[in-house]
Symmetry: C2
């Protein structure tokens, strides 16, 4: 990740090796501000100042404010999707090795997810903000969330077919786990004692997942 501000770049056409730099710096600064305070509470002059450039430079690189906002979301969510898709595919390929291996694979998958959110808490903030904007929400859900939900839901369904997995309603199980993880990040941001909270949340999630491996309901 590039530094938050630039060391005052002089005007003029950029050299071939330094194109795209300013855009990244602006996006990084804008992402942090939007995650913290939202679209309307953040001014373009503020973004420009945080990035160390003029407001017109921001407009030059990212167009309107709405386009800048969308670009911030796309960048963060794409990174999340990339990490989680890879982890989900690994878990999927571990299914053939028996119920115990499948359970461990599930543990690893959610650990990757929780690690990612803890490392980049702005992801949670951006998702919460999108969930509060119904029209955008639907679009981004389709692009970034649904593929993952589908993958993990298939994972649970396949595990139920292979081992003795008790899985009442896969998509609700997955969604609830995701929201619990976001709640965990919010609690951390609000000042919950960090190390202990992190450890206990993982314990909770693992036990919850293990509970899915109990005997089928009569």
């Amino acid at each position: 990740m590039a530094a938050m501000t630039m060391p005052r770049r002089r005007p003029g056409r950029p050299r071939r090796d330094e194109t795209r730099q300013t855009r990244e710096v602006v996006l990084t600064a804008a992402t942090a501000l939007f995650a913290e305070r939202g679209f309307d509470a953040v001014g373009l002059r503020e973004v420009a100042a945080a990035a160390g450039v003029d407001v017109a430079t921001v407009a030059h690189h990212t167009g309107t404010k709405a386009a800048l906002y969308d670009a911030c979301f796309a960048r963060v969510f794409a990174a999340e999707r990339e990490v989680l898709t890879k982890a989900a595919e690994q878990a999927h390929s571990a299914l053939d090795a028996g119920p115990d291996a499948a359970r461990r694979a599930l543990h690893d998958l959610v650990d990757v997810f929780v690690d990612f959110l803890e490392d980049r808490p702005e992801t949670t903030a951006l998702w919460l903000r999108r969930w509060l904007e119904p029209q955008r929400h639907a679009e981004l859900d389709q692009r970034y969330a649904e593929p993952l939900y589908r993958l993990v839901t298939e994972l649970l369904t396949a595990a139920a077919a292979a081992g003795a997995l008790v899985e009442p309603i896969p998509h609700i199980t997955v969604r609830s786990l995701v929201w619990a993880a976001h709640g965990h990040v919010v609690a951390l941001a609000a000042g919950a004692p960090g190390a202990r909270e992190r450890r206990e949340f993982r314990t909770f999630v693992h036990r919850f997942l293990d509970g899915l491996y109990g005997p089928p309901a009569p």
Copy 2:
């Protein structure tokens, strides 16, 4: 709940029996708008129009915009706290009647919670918005959430002492259930098929709670 708009009240001192009416109408209209779009995206003129009054009238009754915002939160959260406190106390008093009654009492309690959120989805929106405002979040958490969390956590702890309740980390269990419920409301608002989703979410939560009543981990 009063109507969203007023039938154009004429100026002049109000009669004794109609004091506080305008304030309630303004608060109701403002709550709906703030829940939908947030503090900065809602203008006071817009609130005034939705309530059928002038912008100066809004200021007269509620002071600054920030005070109006806070008043909306306080009203909704107080209602939620009242309903849930009563339900939690009922569940608590059912603990002495044995493990089965305790489990049924827990089911009833979360049903009350989910019913409340489904009936008044603006509650979820307001909580999400508060969680995105760290400083306000801490204060309202202390006033409205923590008493309830403490009550339910004690409930789980007492149930573990009485029956065979497996409860690894009570406060994380409670928080995760709360967030799962908010995620459920967001999914409903985003257009998930209503009746089926409502039924399945309750099934999921009940099975999750029953899982807490399994044999203690070795």
